[in-house]
């Protein structure tokens, strides 16, 4: 037992990145994995797994702990003669939770398949007892722990988002959703990557190096997966009424590149996009220019009731808006958009009230009622409606009672009289925030650039250039040097042709 424990503890968490060096550490981990995966020792390992799990520290000996856990789960399932996932009330659950919330991300980079297996098992078992909420925070922490930037989409992301939607734990999903997904597990078939084995445990390696399509952190993705991810993300933001973010996510969905077919998810996304754009901006907005025209045509033909609704909204015509809503009730119901549509109608009232602030600096509630067409009939109702808007901060205004109580309440819109200090503070905070996302974006762009430079296509292109310059009698070495920068290359090609 002891002789088994010593190799299991051979790799522990590095406290400093230099001790041992990346290369040595890499070698140690790879040896351990070979040891753990050795089929000859499988029975031995599973024999000690129960005992060893109590002894090992998941944050230090994460790899061993992960393998032992899986062995343990396998044997439990084997004993119980059913392949049902384990019970979250059982003894294993706390161990799994402990592991997933404290594992060492550098070690786990080597065991993507096993890690994913464990996460999926966790999800399935939580679902099996209809308590998806149990798994949500655990998995969120696990994802963020493995990859704090969370810039690469994996199948776990998608599972997680669906789990959040199912358990209605929307705000749990925010830490993940707020990270900007920029990458997808790239294919390792690229020639360059075959030759260049990066050291997975390096602290500065970007997540794109260890989350690849062969690392096992993700199943093979299809377009449906990422569309679903962004679509579900948008739904979560909608549930939280964060319309701006929802709009961005839907934008991603409807702007996805297509070859010839248009996905149903994209069409549904477009429908929701129209409604959300009304809620976010208060008017129909033009769609992103990236969307190609034939996709736009498909959208428009399939989302007719939505466009007419948006049109009525944009023309500030409440009567028509209501008619449109009534006319297409079955459509909303079929698309599961009834709730959103009703919110659009409410938003129309809100917009009209907000617009009054542009025309008036103060007016009586009776005048508000005159400008608000529709269902708010009595003055009292209007007043409480306005008061609710003021209270939730949408309307920057105050309600005053006049000195003589005979008159009704006054609504006074506060102008730009905010305290300068508060405002500056607010702006500064926002600038910092934007700065951060801009920086993240810049990094993503650099990564993409690098990936494209090292892609097969680029190499093929460079090869072609090389041939051209050979034909024209110039030295090949020259062309090789040019690979450094694209601009020089372009110039030289032109020079050769002339």
């Amino acid at each position: 037992m002891e002789e088994l424990l010593s190799p299991l503890t051979s790799v522990s968490r590095r406290l400093h990145t230099s001790d041992p060096s990346d290369e040595d550490y890499d070698k140690q981990i790879r040896d351990l994995i070979i040891f753990l995966k050795d089929p000859g020792r499988a029975s031995d390992i599973s024999a000690v797994s129960g005992y060893a799990l109590d002894k090992l520290d998941p944050s230090s000996h994460s790899l061993s702990y992960l393998f032992l856990l899986l062995h343990q789960i396998n044997s439990t399932q084997f004993e119980n003669k059913d392949l049902r996932p384990f019970d979250p009330t059982g003894a294993l659950w706390p161990k799994i939770v402990r592991f997933l919330t404290s594992f060492d991300p550098f070690q786990i980079r080597y065991a993507g398949h096993e890690w994913r297996q464990l996460v999926e098992l966790t999800v399935q078992s939580a679902q099996a007892v209809s308590k998806p909420l149990l798994a949500v925070p655990v998995i969120r922490d696990a994802i963020l722990r493995l990859d704090p930037s969370s810039g690469v989409l994996t199948s776990i992301h998608i599972t997680f988002i669906k789990l959040c939607l199912m358990s209605r734990s929307y705000s749990y999903a925010l830490p993940i959703l707020e990270k900007q997904i920029c990458h997808f597990p790239t294919a390792t078939s690229q020639t360059y990557q075959k030759h260049h084995k990066s050291i997975l445990c390096g602290e500065l390696e970007p997540s794109i190096t260890f989350v690849t399509d062969s690392s096992g952190f993700s199943t093979k993705l299809t377009y449906r997966d990422y569309l679903q991810y962004f679509f579900c993300g948008a739904m979560i933001y909608m549930a939280l009424k964060k319309w701006d973010k929802a709009l961005h996510h839907l934008n991603i969905v409807i702007c996805s590149p297509v070859t010839n077919a248009v996905s149903k998810i994209m069409v549904e996304g477009y429908k929701k996009w129209i409604l959300v754009s009304l809620l976010a901006c208060g008017k129909p907005i033009p769609s992103q220019s990236i969307t190609s025209s034939h996709v736009m045509k498909v959208y428009q033909s399939l989302a007719q009731p939505y466009t007419t609704l948006a049109d009525a909204f944009g023309k500030c015509d409440l009567q028509r808006l209501k008619v449109e809503v009534e006319a297409a009730l079955s459509v909303w119901r079929m698309d599961n958009n009834t709730g959103l549509v009703y919110q659009v109608v409410d938003a129309f009232q809100k917009r009209t009230t907000l617009k009054l602030g542009k025309t008036f600096s103060a007016l009586a509630v009776a005048d508000v009622a005159r400008h608000l067409p529709g269902r708010l009939s009595s003055l009292r109702e209007v007043e409480s409606f306005v008061a609710s808007l003021v209270m939730c901060g949408t309307l920057d205004a105050v309600l005053l009672h006049l000195r003589d109580y005979s008159d009704s309440t006054m609504l006074r819109f506060s102008g730009t009289a905010k305290s300068r200090f508060l405002q500056e503070n607010n702006v500064q905070g926002r600038i910092l925030q934007e700065c951060q996302s801009l920086r993240a974006m810049g990094k993503a762009v650099r990564d993409v650039n690098r990936g494209l430079e090292l892609s097969n296509e680029n190499f093929l292109f460079l090869q072609k250039c090389l041939k051209w310059s050979d034909n024209s009698g110039k030295g090949g070495i020259n062309a090789l040097e040019q690979t450094e920068g694209g601009f020089d290359l372009d110039e030289d090609i032109m020079g050769d042709i002339h």
Binding site: F184, V262, A364
Partner: protein, 489 residues
Amino acid sequence: MDPIPGDTFDSQATSLYAGQVPTIGNTELENLNGASQTPFVKVDDPPKFELESYIANYTGRTRFNRLFLIGTCSTYLSVEALKAAIIEAKSSKDVSRYERAVRALAEVASNEPEATPDKEWVDRMRKVVKAETDRLEHELRGYKNNLIKESIRMGNEDLGQHYHQIGDLSSASKAYSRMRDYCTTPTHIASMLFKIISVAIERGDWLSVQSHVQRLRNLQSKQEEQAKNQPKMSAALGLSQLHSGSYTDAANSFLNTDPSLGDSFNEVLTSNDVAVYGGLCALASMDRNELQRRVLDNNSFRNFLELEPHIRRAISFFCNSKFRPCLEILESYQADYLLDVHLQRHVSTLYTRIRTKSIQQYLIPFSRVTLDSMSKIFSPRAVGGQAHPVDSTSPFVQELIGLIQDGTLDARIDLEKMVLVSNQTDLRTEVQEATLESLSSFVREAHLRVLRTNIIRAGLEVRVLSDERKQGPAGLGGKHPRPPPGMFQ
């Protein structure tokens, strides 16, 4: 021998048109007097002018058109004007006009002796007209056979003139246009173009007026000829621009009209009209500095303004920011302008613009104005009549609301203190907001594009997938077999 087949065709065509004279004449005049058709204006107030002296200023066919318009629109002058119109029509050869005038009079005052059509005159005139048309066409054919250019030109001119007189305007302009090939001197061309222009003005074909004025301008002729034509040209151009709604251009054209116009263009408009049209258009489209510089200090236009001193006074009141007297003058002359054949359709637009401009000008120096003092200037009648002149429902406040909502006024209404507060712009905040907005939209756009690049790089574009993926819902993990490698490059 070439012209002959064309000639026979032409004569057929014209005779065909001759049969349709009444209908064509009608539609064209309706076109001209469009205002009397679509928004049928009824003017109840007595105008300031005296009908006889007013109409004495004009010559030619416009006399009837103006009389008829006054007769149908003014309740005060209708009988008098229509009677004058009937006399006018009877003195000409245009039967359809006579019939229309009689019909209109019969509607207003059926007891008048003039209200019953003079059948005998109508029949006689029809015959005369027919004979005249045949004669002129026959003559023209003769000229064409002789191939004498000058004769053909004159024949066409006579024919055109005849058609114009009998009210067949499209045939008239066709006949005039045919003169083109036979004109030998620039003077001929100029006179032909002027004839076409005056027909086009009567037809209400403003595009053709503009294009022909352009041709006149490009015509190379002597200096003194040009100088003689200029006033009429710019007046006609101004008129067409007025009708197409470009008031700034119209104001410029009228302002450029030389005072030597005098009464040379009386078959269309008088110098008084130039002053009124030009003054109103300028008032509606120019700011105070421009008005002072280009209208009041304009020596040549002063000659026109002297004919209509109230316009001059209105403009100078506007320039001195005395809006009440300015608007009062305009209001008192509204009835006159509504009875003008060219101005009728544009009076309300022009007045609204002038009013809006005055309100804008009035607000410039204030940061807050009481609605009371504003309504004293811009709607004095309401102040006298209503208990709450500046209630939120009063028309004046409603007008202000409309102006604010369409962005003309940068101000807000305070209905508690009853003041109009002009908006203070905080440039710093605006710039900050705009910057942050553009920053975040940039980040979003960049994210979209990076994602797009990566999606394409990973081969994940939306495409028709092979059947094996349809076995189960995607993304649920390892239960499903992985798709065969090679699906993506």
